[in-house]
């Protein structure tokens, strides 16, 4: 017993102070990508060709990046002859609308808005989430799970993962939704009482991710259920996932979190 107490003393209190302060992200962290339209040469397709998931398409003002398809792999950055693409250190990536994930050069990302008044009344102080892993690589699950540890302590925001759809307010989907998981996802969604929300975590759940061409999968959660929150990444950093969840619940302004992150 004394050893347990001594350990407790040594290990200390380790819950992150977020959202009061932003945890230090690793030096090589790749957050929101930015394309500098001034530096981007005209009629150049190199970045689009380098992208393995066709996340970059040439739009009217230059290359548009679809964060829902992006694997944050850096190949476009390496390919660009002018150094016009960079991944910033901004971890905030979530949106309410699939279309908002497609970013033109220099365009601001329209971050997720909070739920409507009725849903805020129901879920604003208590959101129970059923996680469905539907294909994919278990990478997103790793970083979804980590929010439950004492370092992040999801419970202090009133958010909790639950074991049954009947206890849930939301379904959180990881993976591209394999053909073999379609029925299970439909049944889980149907078993969650109305009103309910769906959260798609990771490139797979948004667009099929690296598997987008495979006929064994359906191309993401919205092929099966209506999605209310998109959290991009491959996998998204736990901070990105938490940021998305807290924005959905309108928690960030309330708790006095800083409003901008330095690039």
């Amino acid at each position: 017993m004394i050893h347990i107490l001594l350990s407790r003393w040594r290990q200390g209190h380790r819950t992150l102070p977020y959202p009061k302060t932003i945890p230090v992200l690793p030096g090589r962290f790749r957050g929101l990508p930015r394309i500098d339209a001034q530096a981007c040469p005209e009629v150049c397709h190199v970045c689009a060709e380098a992208c393995p998931t066709e996340a970059i398409e040439l739009g009217p003002t230059g290359p548009d990046i679809d964060l829902g398809k992006c694997l944050f792999c850096d190949l476009c950055v390496e390919a660009c002859p002018k150094g016009a693409i960079a991944f910033t250190r901004d971890h905030r990536l979530s949106t309410r609308d699939r279309d908002h994930l497609v970013l033109a050069p220099d365009q601001e990302l329209q971050l997720a808005e909070k739920l409507n008044a009725e849903l805020m009344r129901l879920f604003g102080r208590s959101l129970k989430i059923r996680v469905v892993s539907a294909g994919g690589c278990n990478g997103c699950e790793v970083d979804v799970n980590v929010l439950g540890t004492l370092a992040w302590d999801l419970g202090r925001f009133g958010i909790q993962y639950v074991a049954a759809p009947r206890h849930a307010d939301a379904v959180l989907v990881c993976g591209p939704v394999t053909a073999n998981m379609e029925l299970a996802l439909r049944k889980t969604y149907a078993a969650v009482p109305d009103p309910k929300i769906v959260i798609a975590v990771g490139a797979c759940a948004i667009s099929g991710g690296p598997y987008y061409r495979q006929e064994e999968q359906l191309g993401g959660a919205s092929s099966v259920v209506p999605v209310d929150l998109f959290i991009p990444g491959c996998p998204p950093h736990p901070l990105t996932i938490l940021d998305g969840l807290l924005r959905l619940l309108g928690k960030l302004e309330q708790e006095g979190r800083i409003t901008s992150v330095k690039a």
Binding site: R28, R30, E141, N180, Q217
Partner: protein, 505 residues
């Protein structure tokens, strides 16, 4: 194998197809059965659409690998499984993929519930849509016998799989595991490659084993292209692989503590696992080690100053890890639970061909880093983690020993790399040898990872086979449950902590 007909090969070295003699099926079969009877291991058995069969045999204590092939005249052959249980899942897999029927297979069911790759040739003559988990499960009949079905969607943040327990009261007579829900077609997607996404597919075979599988893929390409990776880059790869092992072993030991109701270690380790992942993120920006590796070397190198910074972070994390895990071994309630649950008979472990942590927990001295060394491990060996009892305690203890060995490796590596200059970044594309074969093995944190590629006349992948350690080990979990209480399933399951997506591909 005195009169050997399979071709000897080395980990990560390519062979020309013509140097691997095509045996007649009876010779091929004899060779495998004799080898397995004399204690060697069937590391891989697979087929392709042209009815060719390939097998990889391993003699781990001797550090030897062999590869053999045959070609069938018809899409059926006498099953090896009745004489060689190690073949059982491989034969079901090749039946499902190519419609080749291993006749008299004693447990002939689909593996991943997908359509045959060869149109019109289905091993079960199925014509309609294929439903996952719909098969003839083994059933125990009798008074007071009942069946418990769990999944595919599980109660936690866990991947999907379907489990059927045949129970008598609390006692489990038999557990059957039906997977395939995570099947997204990775092997098929590799055909015709390497493509721009091929490395990403390898990294996402099992996301928690990004480095184990990513390295196996890179090593395979390097073997087929005849490229040597600079020693310092190999060391950095070794660092990344050991960090991956440390993160997962720490997480597993914490989760085991949680399942035994011992909360201090459970909560400390949940956090410390993240600290390990954050070290990996310092290498490449991704906690899972995405985009660190590149065929030929590294995408981002570990600069001396970063190595220096990581040395002090390692010391801090290691102190916390040691402190959290050593509590386990002093807690009688934990030891009681660990020692009484999840026994796998070491003889059966060999028969079914377990690999990695569960094999070493049965006293089987097997580790790719020692037996078929790759990367830095020939020059910088790591101590083998070993235990003898085959139960949950042994699997936990092996993880602890491996954590200690990995920490020693990491401490040495960080110190050495803090004083040496980085390697140039690999550039250009690689031309792979045509009409060749290569076997690439790494030791991921779960165990042996095998990637095998066969190239066509233009040096593209004509077949790409991936064997995650979970593919060998899921059956071990079923064995561990025999005669146990069903309430011990979570503890036993966690002591294996196998990958669903790595199995399902």
């Amino acid at each position: 194998m005195s009169d050997i007909q399979f071709a000897p090969c080395r980990n990560g070295r390519a062979l020309l197809m013509k140097d691997v003699p095509e045996l007649l099926f009876p010779e091929f079969q004899d060779e495998i059965l004799q080898a397995v009877n004399s204690g060697k291991r069937l590391a891989c058995l697979c087929a392709d659409a042209e009815l060719r069969l390939f097998a990889v045999l391993a003699d781990d204590p001797a550090g030897a690998l062999w590869i053999g092939r045959t070609r069938l005249d018809h899409p059926h052959y006498p099953s090896l499984t009745p004489h060689c249980p190690q073949a059982h899942l491989f034969e079901r897999e090749l039946a499902e993929q190519f419609g080749i029927v291993p006749e008299k297979h004693p447990w002939f069911k689909p593996v991943r519930y997908h359509a045959s790759w060869v149109e019109g040739r289905d091993a079960w003559q199925r014509t309609g849509p294929i439903e996952p988990g719909v098969t003839d499960f083994f059933r125990v009949e009798g008074e007071e016998v009942h069946e418990v079905a769990v999944g595919p969607v599980h109660a936690g943040v866990i991947e999907p799989g379907h489990f059927r327990f045949q129970c008598h009261g609390e006692t489990v007579f038999h557990l059957e595991i039906a997977l395939g829900y995570q099947h997204r077609g990775i092997e098929r997607a590799m055909l015709g490659g390497p493509h721009p996404l091929s490395l990403k597919f390898a990294e996402t075979v099992a996301g928690d084993t990004t480095l184990g599988h990513g390295w196996a893929y890179c090593q395979l390409l390097e073997g087929l292209a005849g490229i040597e990776v600079p020693p310092r880059s190999q060391w950095v790869r070794g660092i990344a692989l050991e960090l991956e092992r440390c993160a997962n072993h720490t997480g597993d030991l914490g989760a085991l503590a949680g399942d035994a109701g011992f909360l201090p270690t459970a909560s400390f380790c949940g956090r410390i696992r993240g600290d390990w992942l954050n070290l990996t993120a310092e290498l490449c920006g991704s906690r899972l080690g995405r985009d660190l590796l590149r065929p030929g070397g590294l995408r981002v190198d570990l600069e001396p100053e970063v190595a220096k910074m990581l040395t002090s972070r390692l010391a801090q994390i290691w102190g916390d890890t040691q402190n959290a895990i050593e509590l386990l071994w002093g807690a009688a309630s934990v030891l009681n639970r660990f020692e009484a649950a999840g026994f796998v008979d070491p003889i059966q472990a060999r028969e079914v061909g377990l690999v990695g942590v569960p094999a070493r927990a049965c006293g089987i001295e097997q580790d790719v880093r020692k037996d078929h060394p790759f990367g830095p491990y020939a020059e910088h060996p790591v101590a083998l983690g070993l235990a003898q009892s085959g139960n949950v305690h042994s699997r936990a203890w092996v993880r602890w020993r491996e954590l200690q060995a990995s920490h020693a490796f990491l401490a040495e590596a960080f110190e050495a790399l803090a004083d040496s200059a980085t390697d140039p970044k690999p550039t250009g594309t690689m031309a792979l040898a045509p009409e060749s074969l290569c076997v690439s093995l790494t030791e991921g944190w779960r165990g042996e990872i095998l990637h095998l590629a066969v190239t066509d006349a233009s040096g593209r992948f004509a077949r790409y086979k991936i064997v995650d350690p979970s593919f060998h080990n899921w059956f071990g979990l079923a064995l561990a449950l025999r005669g146990e209480q069903i309430s011990d399933f979570p503890l036993c399951n966690k002591s294996f902590n196998l990958s669903y997506c790595g199995h399902d591909l």
